[in-house]
C-alpha cells in the first residue's frame, strides 16, 4: 500500500491490525469496525488507534467512539463508488477531528474530490502507485485553483472570491 498526503507519497505511521492479532498496548494501529467497541473498552485513554469502516457505515455507529479515534479510514470498494465521499462529509459534520483516510483503488483525478469532502490522506495499492506517480497526484491537487461549491474543504470557493471582489 502507498499513502499520499499533501500530494506526496509518505511513510505510513499506522499499522492495519489483522482481526486475529491481539490489540497492542502502544503504537498507532487500525482495527476493523467489528472490533471497535471492544478496543474502546479495553484500551487506555492514551492508546492511539483508528478504525477502517465500510463506506456503507451509518455515522451513528461511530459517534460514541469518535472522541477516542485518531483515524478513520473509509474503504472505497471501487473508485467510482462515491458513497465514501458523503460518509466523509458526515463524519466531519459530526466533528471528527482526526485523520480521515480514503482507502482503495482511487485515481489521482479524484484527489480534489477527496480533499473537498474532508479526507486528509489516500491509501492506494502499490500497482496503482506505480502507474500514478507522485507528480500526477500533485497535478490533480493543483488542477483547479478554486471550486464552485461552498462549505467544502480545500480550494477556495469561487462564490466567496466573487463576493469579495464585488465588495472591495
Amino acid at each position: 500500500m502507498a499513502l499520499i498526503s499533501d500530494g506526496r507519497f509518505i511513510e505510513d505511521a499506522w499499522r492495519r491490525l489483522a482481526d486475529e492479532e491481539a490489540l497492542p498496548k502502544t503504537g498507532k494501529f487500525i482495527v476493523s469496525l467489528p472490533r471497535l467497541e471492544h478496543a474502546v473498552e479495553v484500551l487506555g485513554p492514551t492508546a492511539t488507534f483508528g478504525v477502517i469502516v465500510p463506506n456503507t457505515t451509518e455515522p451513528s455507529a461511530l459517534i460514541a467512539a469518535l472522541p477516542r479515534l485518531d483515524l478513520i479510514s473509509i474503504a472505497f470498494p471501487a473508485f467510482a463508488d462515491g458513497r465514501g465521499f458523503s460518509l466523509a462529509r458526515l463524519l466531519r459534520r459530526a466533528e471528527f477531528k482526526g485523520e480521515l483516510r480514503a482507502s482503495g483503488r482511487l485515481v489521482a483525478d479524484q484527489y480534489p474530490h477527496a480533499i473537498g469532502c474532508g479526507f486528509d490522506t489516500i491509501e492506494i495499492p502499490d500497482d496503482l502507485a506505480e502507474r500514478q506517480d507522485e507528480g500526477q497526484w500533485r497535478a490533480a491537487l493543483n488542477a483547479y485553483s478554486m471550486s464552485y461549491q461552498r462549505g467544502y474543504a480545500g480550494r477556495g470557493s469561487i462564490l466567496d472570491a466573487r463576493r469579495k471582489a464585488v465588495r472591495s
Partner: protein
Amino acid sequence: MTAVDLRVAQRPNAPMTTYRYDEYDAAFVSERVAEFREQVNRRLSGALTEEEFRPFRLMNGLYLQLHAYMLRVAIPYGTLTARQMRRLADIADKWDKGYGHFTTRQNLQYNWPKLVDTPDILESLAEVEMHAIQTSGNCIRNVTADHFAGVAPDEIEDPRPTAEFLRQWSSLHSEFSFLPRKFKIAVTGAAHDRAAILVHDIGLRIVKNDTGEIGYQVVVGGGLGRSPFIGKVVGDFVPRKDLLAFLEAILRVYNRFGRRDNKYKARVKILVHEKGIDEIRAAVEAEFAAMDRSAFAHDPEEFERIAAFFAPPPYESLPATSVSLRAAKLETPAFANFVDVNVGAHKIPGYAIVTVSLKPIGGVPGDATSEQMRVLADASERFGFGELRVSHEQNIILPHVKQDDLFALWSMLDAAGLATANAGLVSDIISCPGLDYCSLATARSIPIAQAISKRFSDMSRQRRIGKLGVKISGCINACGHHHVGAIGILGLEKKGQESYQITLGGDPTFSASIGEILGPGVTAEQVPDVVEHLVDYYLAEREEGEAFIDTWRRIGHARFKDVLRREGEDGADI
C-alpha cells in the same frame, strides 16, 4: 429587473440575454480543458486504464460509440449565442463531418471526433464560453430549462438564472461526481411545462406563494429508460434561500442509499419507488435539518448578478399586431402556414417566438449541417438580438423576432431548407440515433422517423391532424422519450428481427403520463400504417378542439386497441 444591464449589453458579441463567463468561470473551464488534455495523455501513456479513464472522459462528454467516439457538448438551459452557434459549425467542419445533432437534453452531439482531437475541440469551445462538462457520466448532468424562458407569456420567472446557479453548484462537485448513476435536473418557471420536469431525476417548478414569495416545487424520481416513472413532489414550496441546501440533501440521500448493485436500478426513481416518497421525504428533511445551511446561505446579490445577464434585450415599443405581417400572410400562403404553426406568442407586444424545425420531411430529426447552423446564427443576429435556443424537441428557437421581420426571416430560413412548418405536428418527431450510431440500440429509429414523416408529407393534412407528439427510441433506454409520446415507438429486437412496440397516451408536461402499450410489436414496414390508422381513428372520433391525447384520454385505450385489431388482417398481427 427590466432594464438591460449596460455592463452586459456592451459585450462584444451582440447577444445580451445569456450568461457571460467572468474570470472565474473562464479559469475554471480552461483548467478543465487542461485537465482533460492530461487525462488523454495519461490514457495514451497507460497511466490510466480504459476503465479508470472512462468516467472522466464521460464527464467530459466523450462516449465510445458504434463507429467512433461521440462528443456531447453542453448547451446549458438551451441558450446559445450566434457566435457560439458559428463555433459549433466550425467544429463540425474541422473535426467532424460537417454536421451536428441537437438532442432532447439540450446538447449537441458530434458523431465522428477523434480522441486525440477532443482536447482541441474543448479548447475551441472554451474560447466561446462553452464546454462538454458533465454531459455524461454518473454525475449531475447539464441542467435543462424551458426553451421559451424569458419570453413566454405564461412565465412566472425566467428559469435560467436558477439553472445557471445549479450549473455552477453542480460543476465538479466534490461529493456528487461519483453518484450511483446519472442525475438530471430540469427547471421551468411557467404555467405550461416545456421542460418535461416530471420525467427528470429532479424537476424544479418555480412557484409563487400566497405572500408573493418565489420558491420551488421540487419533484423527485421521474425518469424514462427501462422503468419509466413520473416524479413525485418532495418539497411543495422550497424558498429560494433553501434551494441549494435542499438539493444537496436530496443528492446526499441518493448518493448514500441509491442502489449500486445493478445499474438499471441505480437511478433515484428506483430509490423513490422502492422506499416510497414519504420515506424519501423524511430522509431528505432530516438531512436538510441536520446540515450546516449557512454554507449555502442564499446570496441575493449573486442571484441578482446572474439574473442580470438574462435581462430582456432592448425591445422596441410596437403595436401588438403587425400590419405588414397580416399582408404578407395573405400574399404568401406557405408563409402563413409557417406563422400559424411555428410562431408563438411573445410576452412583449409586436414580437414573436419562432420555432425552426430541424425535422424536414424525410430528414434526420435534430441534425443540422454546419451551413444551416451558420444560417441560424445569421438569422438570430439579423432578427433576434443574436440569441438562439435548443428545445428538447430537437428544434431551434429564435426567441425575440419582431412580427414585422417574420417574412424576411422566413424567406431566409426557406432558402436554407429550414422553414418546415411542422412544429408540434406529426412529423415533428423526436428520435434518438438508434442503430445508425448507437452501440446500445436494438433497432433503427432514424429510418422509422423518416418513413412516418414521408407518409404524412402532405402539410395541410398534418395541420388538420394538429398537435401530436410522435417519439421514437431505438432501445429501452428511451433517449427518444417514447414513453411520453402521445404515440411512442420503441425499437426492439425479436428473433433477429427489428420489431416496434407502440405506446399511446404519453405526455411530458404537468399532466404527465407514461404511454400504454398498444399490443404486440410490429415490423418496421408496418409502423407508418399503424400510425396512420391511429391518426385516422382519432380524426373520426375527436371532438371540437381535442388534441390526439385528449381524445385518447376521453375514449380510452381499449377503443384504440380495438380499431387496430379490426384493421389487422387476421386480427392479430397488429
